[in-house]
């Protein structure tokens, strides 16, 4: 079996033009992840710039209202730039800098990874180009302007479904053309090895902190940790340090869109099949000839036809389970958390919250659930208003 495998998943299915770049990245990462100075610089950025550790907040009103398990929210929404994406990006852009690269590119769906990359690029003096599906540039117009304010160039991608998948295609094409001086900052635990490993390692801080914070607050580990899953970076970051804690249940929440029984869904584990795409073997939404299927979710960040290979493996082994939440349920959770706790969650994170709202009432009051609040919802306000039929006169 080749490198970067998670069971039968993973690998390096990319054009030859990119192979030396990926191998160079692998060597650089293997070196720097063991270099104390690199790790200290990264920790300092987390601490002084990104606002880590993020809070582990006991959602007391929500817990009382649902009447079951205690619910804790891991507040990744309080990070600089408003989501967990900054954890990965600070690591990768610092790595790019150490590798002597002057230019970074990234794909983005909801815009959170693009904004985080543009931010880190501004901080570390890198040129930055972000590829974003045209449909997403419209759904998330504010994030486009944020990236531009940060000095990045945003390229709207007009091929295919004009969403995240197509943004990845275009970023890969652009990387092939500029491979000598450009570093590709992949935003999720996907793509060819070593990206799934690098992104997971940089996101691992989420679960590590949850573990410490939970032990400090409750003196024990939670019963369930859950997070939304598109490519799967916030979920993998939360899960990783709990994989060996077999009493802790790991639940990934996919976007069902209009329902997993419909064609308008993005629930890859629930509806997809084994395939090879975007550099990895994993599960994908596809037809019987291997054409990648268009997917749909209200959430641009979960609107992706694949899932990271390590999640696919956790699913195969039964260590994690993957459920799906519809647009309607997610929007309800979005409003619920806003009204109950005074926290407006990202519509992506609202998928995980919606599932917590389903299971918490069924559990006893001694049980504990941690939900990863992967991002804040400011970016979604306009889209949710549209969904609810509210005219904002922007």
């Amino acid at each position: 079996m080749t490198k970067g495998r998670y069971g039968r998943h993973g690998g390096q299915y990319i054009p030859e033009t990119l192979m030396n770049a990926v191998l160079e990245l692998e060597r650089a990462y293997d070196y720097y992840k063991n270099e104390p100075q690199f790790m200290e610089e990264l920790q300092a950025l987390y601490r002084e710039y990104a606002n880590r550790p993020s809070l582990l907040y006991f959602a007391e009103k929500m817990t009382r209202d649902l009447g079951g398990a205690k619910i804790y929210l891991k507040r990744e929404d309080l990070n600089h730039t408003g989501s967990h994406k900054i954890n990965n990006v600070l690591g990768q852009v610092l790595l790019a800098k150490k590798m002597g690269k002057k230019r970074v590119i990234a794909e983005t769906g909801a815009g959170q990874h693009g904004v985080a990359t543009a931010t880190a690029a501004a901080l570390m003096d890198m040129e930055c180009v972000v590829y974003m599906g045209k449909e997403d540039t419209e759904r998330q117009a504010l994030n486009v302007f944020r990236m531009e304010l940060l000095g990045a160039k945003v390229v709207p991608v007009e091929t295919g479904t004009m969403t995240l998948k197509d943004a990845v295609n275009e970023a890969l094409r652009s990387w092939t053309a500029n491979v000598n001086d450009t570093y590709y900052v992949l935003g999720s635990v996907m793509g060819p090895h070593p990206y799934p490993e690098i992104v997971r390692d940089f996101q691992r801080v989420i679960g590590k902190e949850v573990k410490e914070q939970m032990l400090a607050k409750e003196g024990r580990l939670p019963d369930i940790v859950m997070a939304c899953v598109g490519g799967g970076s916030n979920a993998m970051g939360l899960f990783y340090d709990f994989i060996s804690e077999t009493d802790v249940q790991l639940i990934g929440v996919e976007a069902a869109g209009r329902g997993i029984e419909t064609e308008e869904t993005a629930a890859t584990i629930n509806r997809g099949s084994l395939g090879i795409f975007h550099g990895m073997k994993s599960y994908f939404m596809q037809d019987k000839y291997g054409q990648i299927a268009p997917v749909y979710s209200i959430s641009a960040g979960l609107d992706y036809p694949g899932i990271g290979p390590e999640h696919a493996h956790l699913y195969d082994t039964g260590r994690a389970s993957y459920v799906a939440i519809t647009d309607t349920e997610a929007v309800r959770a979005f409003s619920y958390l806003s009204e109950t706790e005074g926290i407006i969650p990202a519509i992506e994170s609202a998928h995980a919250l919606a599932y917590a709202m389903k299971v918490a009432p069924e559990m006893s009051k001694e049980k504990i659930i941690v939900v990863n609040l992967s991002g804040r919802g400011d970016k979604d306000v306009a889209a949710i208003a549209r969904y609810m039929g509210v005219d904002l006169h922007e």
Binding site: M19, N20, I276, G279, Q286, G290, Q291
Partner: protein, 259 residues
């Protein structure tokens, strides 16, 4: 000797045109293959259309979209090629991404290739490190798994070349497929390093459109591969493309033979 090696024998310089199968529909593709064979094409590459062709530039991407919109599937493409085989024995090679093969079933796919005398497959997202995904079935059914070598391959050139089958596809430029006014990679240097370890024929592709470029690239290697320039003609003439494509291929074949 395989039909591919046969095409290159006696140091003949080969011209290898590419079309996307089913662009603008399968009927026209069949006419195009027969026209290109009649025009003297030595080997013909046929793209299996894919929803997300990440190695392709805009021209061939649009060809893929047209083919898929026309309802092309792997099975229908095989059926069309069975009809082609009633008329011509020109060596045929598939260009496709790994997923359509994997999902069709690698063994079933290669078995079908053998039946239809498809002599090779080019899989741009299957690098050396992952070739075992397909290799055993390629060997079993005697389908050459054609390797690509890129301007960035450097220390990988000889590793890839040593195990290459059929012909070696040297990618002339960084980036995706598409017409380029200038090819700046030192193709001669890459070919020299290949020659040190193998006598497998070498053809150069990506960016070639003009007679001069084709002659030059064939001069530095054993042949020239042209895709986007032909797909562009298909885009322009649609169902009437066979005539103009035939004329273009005739001229390109003549240019390559001069090299």
């Amino acid at each position: 000797m395989s039909k591919i090696r046969q095409a290159f024998k006696n140091k003949k310089k080969c011209f290898i045109p590419f079309i996307t199968g089913g662009d603008p529909n399968l009927e026209v593709s069949k006419e195009l293959i027969l026209a290109m064979a009649a025009a003297g094409a030595d080997i013909i590459e046929i793209g299996i259309p894919f929803s997300d062709p990440v190695a392709e530039g805009e021209v061939i991407q649009r060809g893929n979209v047209r083919a898929l919109n026309a309802g092309t599937t792997t099975d229908k493409l095989f059926d069309m090629l069975a009809e082609v085989r009633n008329v011509t024995q020109v060596p045929l090679v598939f260009l496709t991404y790994v997923n359509p093969i994997f999902i069709y079933g690698t063994e079933r796919f290669m078995e079908k290739c053998r039946q239809l005398e498809i002599d090779g497959v080019i899989v741009p997202d299957l690098p050396y490190e992952e070739k075992n995904e397909l290799l055993s079935n390629c060997r079993k059914y005697d389908v050459d798994l054609i390797s690509l070598i890129a301007p960035t391959s450097d220390d990988r050139i000889q590793m890839i070349a040593r195990e290459a089958m059929g012909y070696i596809y040297v990618v002339s430029s960084l980036g995706v497929t598409g017409i380029r006014s200038n090819i700046t990679t030192d193709i001669g240097a890459i070919v020299k390093r290949i020659r040190e370890v193998t006598d497998t024929p070498v053809a150069v592709g990506f960016g070639i459109a003009t007679l001069e470029q084709a002659e030059k690239m064939a001069g530095l290697s054993d042949g020239a591969i042209v895709g986007s320039a032909i797909v562009k003609i298909v885009e322009q003439y649609g169902k009437d493309a066979a005539g103009p494509v035939k004329k273009y291929v005739e001229e390109m074949v003549a240019a390559v033979r001069k090299a």
